[in-house]
């Protein structure tokens, strides 16, 4: 393989930048890395054996986590579908789509965790602000994926129905939605999986679910209970991943 002098120079500059960035963050501070590694080993040892005595309490909170994820996804999807249509240039035109995209971009700028904090401030502690946080985040994320899917619909199919004078509502119903349905469902299931993981973290800021217990166990140095919470979350996430991928495959194969 031949590398030109110019490309060698470019790669060298790129590597130099990466090394500088790593250095400025502390990746070459050997003392600190050694100290941290030994702390990690002590922390890992403290995690075992898991304390399964808290399973009953955690099962209720994990149910709450799933409840938040499901409701947040459904609420987000309900708003994302029409917003996705409005954001698609081939459905609503350039002007409206630009406005909707601006709004959705603003929503996406704020992560789910920050949305949850905002809603905790507004509505107080518990699963309600967490669910609202997930719903708003889902709107921003799903709408973007949906308007991209609508814009990818074959232009010739759209022209074929517009040429015969079909109304915009019928065009959406008989062309845009069926042609994008695989994407719509696939992204919806992905969003649900994502929200289950996210909702576990939202408890850290008091927005309900198993995360509330996780942060409490960390603050109280009850690491063996934390292990039980992590294992339960892992088990639930794996089951949901499996079930949703089976459902998704079934839809996609159709």
């Amino acid at each position: 393989m031949n590398f030109s002098r110019e490309s060698t120079l470019r790669v060298s500059i790129f590597l130099a930048i990466i090394i500088y960035l790593a250095h400025s963050i502390g990746f070459f501070d050997i003392d600190r890395l050694a100290r941290g590694s030994s702390n990690l080993i002590i922390f890992a040892a403290d995690l075992f054996p898991p304390d399964f005595g808290v399973t009953g309490t955690l099962l209720y909170s994990i149910f709450e986590t799933i409840q938040m994820a499901l409701l947040g996804t459904v609420l987000g999807f309900t708003a994302a579908l029409p917003l996705g249509l409005l954001g698609a240039r081939n459905v609503s035109g350039t002007g409206i789509s630009a406005l909707v995209r601006l709004l959705l971009g603003a929503i996406r700028t704020i992560p789910a965790l920050l949305w949850a904090i905002i809603f905790v401030v507004a509505f107080g502690l518990g699963p309600l602000p967490g669910t609202l946080g997930l719903a708003v985040y889902s709107i921003g994320y799903l709408s973007k994926l949906y308007y991209e899917a609508f814009e990818a619909v074959d232009r010739e199919i759209i022209e074929a129905v517009r040429a015969i004078g079909i109304s915009r509502l019928k065009e959406i119903r008989f062309v845009m939605l069926p042609e994008s349905m695989n994407h719509i469902l696939s992204q919806l299931f992905f969003m649900f999986e994502y929200n289950v993981r996210s909702s576990a973290i939202l408890g850290f800021v008091g927005a309900g679910g198993i995360g509330f217990y996780m942060i409490s166990y960390i603050q109280l140095f009850q690491y063996q209970r934390l292990t039980t919470a992590i294992l339960l979350t892992l088990a639930v996430v794996l089951v949901i991943d499996f079930v949703s991928s089976r459902i998704r495959d079934r839809f996609l194969s159709n």
């Binding site: 010739e156 199919i157 022209e159 074929a160 015969i164 019928k170």
Partner: protein, 238 residues
């Protein structure tokens, strides 16, 4: 009652304002006639179809598309694009019913519940093109020839006064292409005007009365299709 179903006078079109893809097109198509547009790829056939179907507006010139009683409503114009424009994830029957959209109400649109009469109507046309047994199959599971038949049935259920067919059999083998064209000729009403775009001389000669020859966005000739031979269009395709 006007004699011409389609009448274009001095039509120019450009998507960007320069580099015209249609240049000063004059075209008259008599009601009930079969006309072929022939020319190589990029000669402007598809753009001309989009002008006639009112998907595009000309930069200058006039376009008149008329029914026997006035301006032709869009739902009475069958349009079959090159790739057919079928909704792949819907069934053959649902695709045909899209052609009957002007007779389907709000509830039917929202819930996909079609009036029984229209469903029977659609089945009749699917039967006419020999594909009624695949009515409930999704379009993406059908072969190329079967999709062509669905596209014809969708055009026919519109009870069209004009059918525009844009190279829609060009991807088929010659035997199937002829079979489909025979079916189209047979199924269209005698007052239905048929305009086909093709680069196949045989197809133009066998399935049209008049052939309009196009090159580089301009109309370079109009002859009786029975006079069409390779010598007459050699310059156009080189």
């Amino acid at each position: 009652m006007t004699e011409y179903a389609v009448e274009l006078k001095g039509v120019w079109y450009s998507p960007t304002g320069d580099n015209h893809t249609l240049k000063n097109i004059d075209l008259k198509v008599k009601r009930g006639a079969s006309v072929a547009l022939i020319g190589p790829s990029g000669s402007g056939k598809t753009t001309l179809f989009k002008i006639i179907s009112r998907l595009l507006s000309p930069c200058s010139g006039s376009v008149s598309v008329r029914s026997s009683s006035g301006e032709l409503e869009k739902h009475r114009m069958g349009y079959i694009p090159q790739q057919l424009g079928l909704v792949r994830s819907l069934t053959a029957l649902e695709n045909v019913l899209i052609g009957a959209h002007s007779r389907i109400g709000f509830a039917g649109t929202l819930f996909g519940v079609f009036p029984k009469k229209e469903t029977e109507h659609a089945m009749k046309y699917l039967g006419m093109v020999g594909i009624a047994h695949k009515a409930d199959k999704k379009v993406y599971t059908l072969s190329g020839g079967e999709r062509q038949r669905v596209a014809i049935a969708r055009a026919l259920i519109q009870e069209p006064e004009i059918i525009l067919a844009d190279e829609f059999v060009s991807n088929l083998d010659i035997v199937t292409a002829r079979e489909i064209m025979d079916m189209m000729k047979k199924a269209k009403g005698k007052d239905t005007t048929l305009v086909i775009a093709t680069h196949d001389i045989e197809l133009a000669r066998n399935y049209s009365e008049t052939t309009v020859i196009m090159k580089d966005g301009a109309k370079v000739g109009e002859i009786s299709s029975c006079e069409l031979d390779r010598d007459k269009v050699r310059d156009v395709f080189t």
